[in-house]
Structure formats: structure tokens, C-alpha cells
Amino acid sequence: MFGYSGKILHIDLIEQKTWVEGKTEDWYKIWIGGVSMATRLCWENITPGCDPYSPENPVCFANGIFAGTPVPVGGKYGLASKSPMTGFIGDSLSGSWFSIALKRASWDGVVIHGTSEEWVYIFIDDERVEFRDASKLMGLGTFAAEEAIRDELADDQVRSATIGPAGENMVRFANVTNDGRQAGRTGHGSVWASKKLKAVSVRGTKGITVADPETLNKLSFDITKAAQGPHTSKYRLLGTVTNVLNMNKLGLLPTRNYQEGVFEDAEMVSGEFLHEHNKVKTIACAQCPIACEQMSMVKTGPWAGAMTGIEYECLFANSSNLGINDINAAIKLIEIADQGGMDAMSMGITLSWAMESFEKGVLTKEDFKCEKHPDGLELTFGNGMAAVATAEMIRDQVAVGKLLSQGTKRASETIDKERGTKSYQWAMHSKGMETAGYEARGLKTFSLGSAVGTRGPCHNRTAAYDPDIKGVVDRFTVDDTRGELARSTEEYAAVYDTLPLCKFIRRCFTGKADRAGAWPMIAKLINATTGWNYEYDDIDLIGERAFTIKKAFNIREGWKRTDDTLPYRWMNEPMTKGPSAGHFTSDEELEYMKDLYYKAKGWNNDGMIPKEKLKELGMPDVAEQIGV
């Protein structure tokens, strides 16, 4: 078998023992890797219905098919557990060295079971596994923890995925960080903390061989060179932060907790501004010839020296969305999230919920009183100092930070129950996960994609904004094409998330990013790596299977049609300013589009998956358990 070792490593934290599970080539042909294989491992190893913080919720890593080869942007892994935010599948991706080290240690996947009594970190040294005392690492930020582990093991080739202090403190939206990249969403950090697992470290020393290295080198070389041209210029030159002004122009830049879609000071928090005033260097994940990470630094003022990588989703959440026009405050906020090990998107949107709640009198200065801030804080929109202080309170679980550390869904539910308020009306989440940086009221197809997302509303798991923004459809109205568009764009994204390949390479295969442009080349890459004979249709199936297993997981955890919904604001309150003013997605529109979507997927009208469909996709055991 090429491209895979055929081995999954199981680690039990309770007994501190390990075992190896063999998988067949046919199994890999169905599940491939990344989010699909990670979800499948979770499906196989979880106790259905368990509490996400219980020992029965496993941590599942799945490597990528191309990790450790010269295939551009193939150095990524998938991470899955039941999400403590949504109660459904929590599937994330992260890039860079960790996946490659894991590949060279010869593991296709790792499943971590149980919980530990004391804080530990796991060291996977090729085939050997050590359970190591993590007490010296406690309280360290993500980057510092990685360095400390390299020091302790005296090898700078050791790669670690860690949680930061926010994770240790059980911030619900804490995440997992490796090599400066994050498995960012759905709350993996708090799941790890519930297991007293501070880090997973890997040293992989073995070489990787593929079925047809000459072909793979030739293809990779051409893609590497194409990735220096116009197909990636957006990512290479300014990075994704270039979207701030693009979104603002369309009236889609979430502003002041999604009250509006235009920000009057967008220029001051734009990619262009960041590039000119704060950029230090652009860096890449391992195995990536594009390089999009804009390392940016605060140069003056109270946060001078703060530095982290800035991309669009983190930036909008912590600038326009907070009414903040000081780029330095935004960088500091994102640094707190990155070093502390929190999802900067969920953190920003929880802060914006708190700001609106403060302005509406639901939260008061009193709520912020603590040792560091004895007079409390005035957390109004635009107040960068208060936002930074509150972010630290979230990370450290101080005063109102405790409430906010649970995310917008739980924070609003708790406050509304306690104070008889209606703050759920501005809690920007669906299924318990905070929304992405595309204002869905001006993007009807994307509003459907967000509602049906298996891990919650996500810009990465669906590209449904694409036909809206490109003008393939009218982005303000609803018609009978939207179900098929949502299906097709989410399965397109799922192909990349499963291999996984970073989507920023999508135009570099042939110049065209659509299926016809990308699938034949992706099939060639798979075949040269594994020796299989994949064709166009097989690539399509990768995406359909990935989404199906995620949905099946959710159904087994109790998903119902009513869970596919949108934040109250997106369904009831039109924006008043800019090109997207006046629009929202009504209940009738959403239900109509959901009908279309379930039909396009080949599911029944309740969103349940027919047995036959599951068998057709090669999932007889799934059909047995949840098929209708």
C-alpha cells in the first residue's frame, strides 16, 4: 500500500496503554483522510450520546494522503471529536509540520481514549509512545509549550499540537495549535483539557515512498510554479485580509455584532493598512509554496511587541465586528486568542455579543469587576482597551469572563434565564457555533449553506457564498436552484478538506477552480501517490462521502431538521445601511431552501438519510445504524 501505512494508533489515557489497529486499502478508499477519516474514526470509537467532556469522547487525528510528499499544500491533518459547542461532529483541520511528522512516524490516524488523572502529554516517537508528565508545561501559551517540549526532548524536529491556558481553563471554544496553525473551531481545546491532555508530540524519522514518484514530482513541480502566478496573488500579496474591503464594498462585512454590513472605518482595519503598517513577514505552512500567513506586529502603544498571524476571519471578528478601528487592538486580541489557544472567531463574536449586551444594559460595569479592574469595565463598541481586558478575562475565567468563555449560545441562555432579557436575539451562532465573516443576509445561498452546516455555520466547510458573490444567482432572493448549489459547493469544499489540500491551491491545477478544472489533476495526484485508478467521479464521491459521514454522526447524536437554522438576527432583522440593506432570510425562505437541499442530497424531507443511499456510498454499517 502506498500513501498509507495501514495503521491507526490507539492510545488509552486511563490505563496508559496503546494498541495498533490495521485498516484495509478498501477502508482508505472510502474515507481517504482529513475530516472524512477523522469523523469516521470518531464514529467508530465514540459512545453515541456521550457528554463531550466524558472519557467516552475520543480525540481522533486523521492524516492526509499527501502529507510528507512534495504535493503543494498537502501537509494537513483532520481532528475530530464530538464538539462541546454544538453536541454534533467537531471536525477541524490544521496545517504544517505536525501532519508530516505523524506521517513519517507511520501513523495514518491516532485515536486517544479516556481521561488521565494527572496532566500529561503524549510523545509519539516513531512507533514508541510515551506518557509524559505535563506539569512543567501548565500555563504556557501554545508557542511556548511547543518550544518547551522541544527543549525537554532535545530535538528541534519534534512537532507538537498543544492547548494553551484557555484550554486548560476549559474555555468552551478553546482550540488546538501546532506550528503556529490551529485546528481552530468547534472547541477541541476544552475536550483535550477534559482529558488532562496538554499536548501530543511527534517525532517521525522514516522516509515516505509513493507509487510513482517521477510523475508525482513532475505534477508537483508544475503546481508549485503555477502557485507563484496570478492564481494565488490574492493570498500571497495581502493574504485573506484583503477581504475586509471586498466585503465592505458588498455590504457584507459584519459590523458591531452583525448589526450592519458596512463599517465606516474599514480602511483602517483593512489588509492594505495592515500590510503597510504592521506586516513583518509572510510565512508558510510546511509543504506550502504559496505562503499566506501575514505575520503582523503592533509597533507602538500599550500593546507594542504583540505579534501573530492575521487572516480575514480573525480580523473581521476582532475589528469591524467590535466597532474597533484600531488595528493594534485587533492584532492584540488575535494574539491573546492565538497564544492562549482560543478560536479567535468565536472569541470575537462572543465579545461583540457582550458589547451589544452592555450597550443595551443587559450587562453592566459590575459584571466586569475583578482584582485587575476593581471599577469594572465599559465594554462598548469600539473600546479596544476594554475588549483586550475582557479577552484576558475569558482566557483566565475571571468575573464575566467565566460566562463569556462558554460562547454566545450558552452565555445568552444563562443571562436571559437569570435576568429575564432577550439577548438570544443578538447571539450570532447556529447549533452553538459562532457565525463566519460573510453577512448571510446578503447571501441567500450561503445562508442555506450556513444553516445546514454539520459543524455549524462555516465559511470553510461550504463555498455557497461563491455563486452569490460571483452573480451566478441573485444573492438577495431565493429560487429553486439553491438546494443543488448548497449541495454542490459543500461537497466541493469537502474534497479539499478530506485529502486534505488547502483550498488556496484550487486555481493552480489548470487555471480553473471548478470541478472540471481541478478534479482530473487531483485524481492524477492521488493515483501517483497511491497507485489507484481514481477518476473524476471518484473525486466527487470523496466529497459526498465526507459530508454524509458527518451528517450520519450528527443524526446518531440526535440531530433534527429544526437544528438546521440561523441566528435570530439573520432571520428577523434587516440591515439598514449599504448595498445589502433591507434583506434577511425569512423562516419560509429558509424552510423552502432546506426542502430543496435535502432533496438534492438524496435525503428525505426530514433530512434523514435513506438506507439505500448509504449502501450505495459504501457505508452498510452506517445504513444499519441510522438509515431510514
Binding site: P70, I100, F143, G207, T209, A227, V280, T282, I283, A286
Partner: protein, 164 residues
């Protein structure tokens, strides 16, 4: 500390351009060992912190300390190119040369018990593969004198025309 001579080529990396992707290491290990394994790359990327990233390979030093230190006389320096040659039958993998190299540019192949040193891909028609593949043109086959010239030219351009 040993120095590079002004006459020999070596693989130079511009830290301002290097993005830390490690593609050079993949290509090197494949070219030299037939498998992708950065442990067997003769060029190594170094990430000191989040932004200080570069790559290092043999600097073709004058009076190369690795050659002097080799107790088995397995290493010699090509007088034409400055590259270090290994006589495999003599090398016993004692690693003295690794100790002697100030650039950390020599690594041990534990399976073969032989050391591995950059030879600038002398057997490849199109020259050093890392230079050929480097997506950001951070790598170059150059001499210290050529590099100094480049720095001088860039400095003058910046001072006269202004920053890029």
C-alpha cells in the same frame, strides 16, 4: 568560526524570502535517497522563531574543518568546486565532521552509517534541485563575493530609489 572562501559556490538562502515551506528538503532527500525524508536532506530549514526562518547547506569552507577533523581521511575537498567528497568505504560514521562543522550542514544517515553533505547536485543536469524548486527564489547557488555584490547593489538601489 570557519569561513566560506570567496571562490567556491554554495547554496545560499535569503531569510527575507524564505517562507519555511521545506520543499527544498523534500526534493533533496528524494534526489539523493529516493524517498521524501527531511531527516536525510542535505539542506535544512531552520525556524528560530515565528518569522526568523532560513535554510542552511554546506558552505564549502576554505580549509574545511570537516576534512581536517576526519580521522579516517574519508573526506576531501574538490579543488575546483570546493564541494566535500566522501569516500564511502573509508567513512565509519564516527561523526567528528558533524562536530567540526560550524554550520550544522552535515547529517548522519544512521541506516548506512555514512554522513551526508550537499554536493550541489553535481550529477543533475539542471543543477541543484533545491534552487530549481524553491517557490520564492530564496535559494541561490552563489559565492560570498556574488552575494556581497548583490547586497551592495540592493543597498544603493534602496538609498537612491527608496524602499521596494
Amino acid at each position: 568560526m570557519a569561513v566560506s572562501t570567496s571562490k567556491f559556490n554554495y547554496i545560499d538562502c535569503d531569510p527575507d524570502l524564505c517562507i519555511g515551506c521545506q520543499i527544498c528538503e523534500y526534493v533533496c532527500s528524494y534526489t539523493k535517497n529516493g524517498e521524501y525524508n527531511t531527516y536525510h536532506s542535505r539542506i535544512r530549514t531552520v525556524r528560530v522563531d515565528e518569522v526568523l526562518i532560513t535554510a542552511i547547506a554546506c558552505r564549502t569552507c576554505e580549509n574545511a574543518p570537516c576534512v581536517i577533523s576526519c580521522p579516517q581521511k574519508a573526506l576531501s575537498q574538490d579543488p575546483e568546486t570546493g564541494t566535500i567528497r566522501l569516500e564511502a568505504t573509508k567513512c565509519d560514521g564516527c561523526a567528528w565532521c558533524i562536530d567540526a562543522c560550524d554550520f550544522g550542514a552535515i547529517s548522519m544517515n544512521h541506516e548506512a552509517r555514512l554522513v551526508e553533505i550537499c554536493d550541489q547536485c553535481e550529477n543533475e543536469e539542471d543543477g541543484p534541485q533545491c534552487v530549481l524548486w524553491c517557490p520564492k527564489e530564496a535559494l541561490a547557488l552563489t559565492t560570498p563575493e556574488q552575494r556581497a555584490q548583490k547586497s551592495r547593489r540592493e543597498l544603493i538601489k534602496q538609498e537612491v530609489i527608496g524602499p521596494k
